[in-house]
């Protein structure tokens, strides 16, 4: 096969793809985000499978039922499932007592380093700064040591 043998003969065509989307949060997502704006966390529930979905969805992945039952999740009932230090921040996957799933968010650095299993609560932004997005939870922070 013929080959390029001189480096300066190599041509590369530079291009970029400027695209935009407007992702629909959906019935469950919309409800969750509107409540988040009010400082509340809600999950959807499948009674027959004993499953509580967070972030919520309107279908149960176990029995395929349509879900219409909701449950408040106390914002101080979280615990750290895992965490990582990345880009100078600590990102944690926070799970909540009795809830399947969880929420991703920043973990506020405390005096002690984070550990898997520590209890945390969600700290919301000031009301006027909330946008109905996951970032309305400014960070999670450790509760009573």
């Amino acid at each position: 096969m013929e080959r390029i043998t001189e480096g300066d003969q190599i041509r590369r065509w530079n291009d970029h793809i400027p695209l935009q989307w407007k992702y629909t949060a959906g019935v469950a997502g919309e409800r969750f985000l509107q409540l988040l704006k009010q400082g509340k966390i809600q999950a959807s529930v499948c009674r027959s499978c004993n499953k509580t979905y967070l972030p919520p969805k309107i279908f149960c992945k176990e029995c395929f039922a349509q879900l219409s039952e909701w449950r408040d999740v106390p914002s101080d009932s979280g615990y750290v499932y895992s965490f990582t230090a990345v880009n100078g921040e600590i990102i944690a996957l926070v799970k909540f007592d009795g809830v399947d799933g969880g929420l991703l968010g920043r973990l506020r650095k405390g005096r002690e380093g984070p550990r898997i299993g520590i209890k945390v609560k969600a700290v919301f932004r000031r009301k006027e700064d909330r946008k109905g997005a996951l970032s309305d939870i400014e960070y999670f922070e450790r509760t009573g040591v």
Binding site: M1, R3, I4, G7, R12, D15, P55, T84, G102
Partner: protein
Amino acid sequence: MPKQDVAIVGIGASRFDSITAGLSYKELMFEAAIRAYADAGIDVRYDVGSFICCAEDFWEGNSISDEYMPDQIGAKLRPLFTVSGDGLLGLAHAYMHVMAGVSDLVVVESHSKLSDVASKEKIEELGYDPTFARLPGIDPRYLAGLEMRRYMEESGSTHEDCAAVAVKNKRNALKNPRGVYAESLALGDVLDSEEIASPLTKGEMSQPADGSIVVAVASAKKARKLSDKPVWLSGISWFSDAPNVEEMDLGQALYASNSSRKAYSMAGITKPATQFDFAEIDDTYAYKELQHIESLGLAKRAGKFVSSGRANPDGAMPVNVSGGSLGTGHLVEASALARVYEAVLQLRGEAGPMQISSHKKCVVQSWRGIPTQSGVTAVLSSR
């Protein structure tokens, strides 16, 4: 005796490198294809009845990338489709095509031209759920950090055990002509390298490479006619765990345990820890190899297993003798076909300086990468 319905009868690989300057992805595919067809002893324009490519549009930079696949692998005006998944999933489709009688000779291709991709991390970020898991300003590999910590917590494997995987695989790659990232390292070199998403360090992450692999798959009858060294595909299965990060079981690789259970049952494997001679499995990140060793049933405590040398080429269960993705580079969707390529060389006894002494049966396994919990397991044997 395991099933002998479908066999690999030809393999070809292009050059692998961190940059394949001067060659387009189509030319890399052509390079791999002509080698595979020469290896199989076939005339692609007459003998092959079905073609399967494995590629993702975002890595290709083209919104209908599948349309551009036929000509350079000899598939003009032939049945061809592209699987949006890893190369081993393509092999699963080839298995089905043969079993269903679609064709008695099927070609699978997958490639990487990652050196063309200027926005690798952005593409990884776009794999996440837009509402709940894309974290602006945060390296998308955050999930690998979360997963590694959770895996270590649940398994008891240490950070040193994870680093030992990188040391082993980069050392193994020294004997592999495709060992783009071959290196002789100490544990400390890996542990002290830049931390990307703690506890994960750069030395524990496979780095991008370019390359293409083509595999020809045939029915038993055709395979016996074409090849005196057919490699039997005696079991293959695939599985996905939760698509949402929040629901993932980060401690264990459920896709690997579930897909292996099915593949093993097809292949008559009841004791994977002793029935396989070696394993070529996903090691996109060093901890992933440990997690996969456990989920595939190759060892109960993978950390100790690797650290004590039992996964070395001269150990009880050699894992990634080829150097894996850590040693040969990460080829996105083609990484899994690279594992198949290396496994076939071993099974045929053609692995040169990498050749191990017992090489009749092996497990090959893939993971689709972050943020997925999807993967494929296959059982290959030389008899």
